[in-house]
Symmetry: C2
Amino acid sequence: MTDTHGNPESHSDSMEHEDLYPTRSDAGEIRPFGRYDPVVHARNQWRWDGPLGEEVLSRYERDGFLWFEGFFSRQRIQPFFEILKTMAADQELMASDGVITDPDSGDLRSVFAMHEVSDYFSELTRDPRILGMVRQLLGSDVYIHQSRINDKYGFHGSGFDWHSDFETWHAEDGMPRMRALSASLMLTDNNEFNGPLMLIPGSHHYFIPCGGDTPEGNWKDSLKAQRLGVPAQQWLRKLSTWGGIQAPKGRPGSLLLFECNTLHASNKNMSPWPRSNLFFVYNSVDNPLHDPFCGNSPRPEFLATRGQPGPLAMADDSHKPRASEL
Amino acid sequence: MTDTHGNPESHSDSMEHEDLYPTRSDAGEIRPFGRYDPVVHARNQWRWDGPLGEEVLSRYERDGFLWFEGFFSRQRIQPFFEILKTMAADQELMASDGVITDPDSGDLRSVFAMHEVSDYFSELTRDPRILGMVRQLLGSDVYIHQSRINDKYGFHGSGFDWHSDFETWHAEDGMPRMRALSASLMLTDNNEFNGPLMLIPGSHHYFIPCGGDTPEGNWKDSLKAQRLGVPAQQWLRKLSTWGGIQAPKGRPGSLLLFECNTLHASNKNMSPWPRSNLFFVYNSVDNPLHDPFCGNSPRPEFLATRGQPGPLAMADDSHKPRASEL
């Protein structure tokens, strides 16, 4: 039996609950191993149906990310800043758990569950151009596992150490398989000096178990600074020597798609130029969360959508400027 | 009366002891002001005698630094690594005050007074190609105010916040005027990810008084992390918006000359690639140190050469590889 994207359907409960990617506690002693999951999940004919062509799919398989310079127009991005201003003025929202401040400066750092706070953001996550690519890469319908905006103010905004998102989502959210990806949309310029996202191409091919016990409520700390889930330096050294490091840079409206297991990090913003990026994490509807594999209680819903969420539907994409706007 | 480089001789004691550049304590309340000192000190005919031509001198005046990609051959640089290894194995040296470790990792961060520890380094500070440019830029004979090697190990090596070296040397060493510069020689590749030096072009035209009392022995802390002497963000913002930020990058043997008052900083080394740079600070023999303007006792001699040091003499520059080495 295969589903509509050519993937074998598997519903054996025993298989689903097996921990294929052991990490945390003593798992730091386990050597890295190759991933069990494909990188591009749509197979055979389904893979070739597009929207991405084979040359781009192969690059995604090789590197673990794709960069689309100027994917959206500035015009399409501009309204978000107005919405952000409105949100920043909403004291109730700002006091909620989903709003994270910078450990050094106390400034606004992240707002989670953006797609539930704002219709405009929700619509963006369902933009046909993005959703089409995401469905192809994940080989199924998808839902939003997490959404957030990450802000780094000028001369503020500390960095984030190297990590795989999947390692955290597996351990702390119970995401069973590598069948998720992040879409990061640049709201500001990302340049050499304002702490752009750095990635290690090819690192997504390996799972690196990380040591250290996960305290209950670890997310309150981990959203401010990555401490657990940072691979041992010997593996970081090996992978970045093989694959190098890349930091995509470009203007507002640029889009980065990166696989859930691609190692990434960011440095401090040493410039006066703020860096503001939206992140939408898509997960396959065939990869719903189990209980966290680290054994803790699940993280709050604003960090990880639990249950069996319905598939995202495409949004209307008639975002052409009216003649009167020209 | 002018000296051999066309500069007016001034030996009025009262003038020399005047604090032209007030900083620390309440001075943070004083607005930035234009520097009183020229950037290129050799004047008129002396300026035109070379070795640098007018187009390069003008760039140095405008930006406050000059970058020479591949100034020395790899062959010329290679022996330094052997010397460094020998030094690292010297336990007595490693335990001395002039050796500074990283606040985060405990790794070797800086070794000071390199030119006194090693003849090979001493000779390098007197290399005719470097010394010729330095004498022209400072308009006089020069001596070594400070020399050091700065190491950032892979995945270690924290950053340094924005500062002007002159601000520290004036406050804590009693350097009266802006008539010094640093020559930084790259011993490793400096790339986007291993924490290269960043500079704000044009920032050297202004002196930015910084607030905060200077504790006795501040250097023990300040060599690990820049806390005092960091300009207020409003001025950093203005200067970097005007001038932008540049981070010269290149292969081992590349040389950076930067004026003592040019604002610079560096970010963490997030890569596996070590970053190792030599710094030689040259000061004009006509700009000897006074008592520290912050009122503290002078810093140790390995940080700041005191008294009336004699001028550096050119070294023999016959560093051609022998035919047998080809």
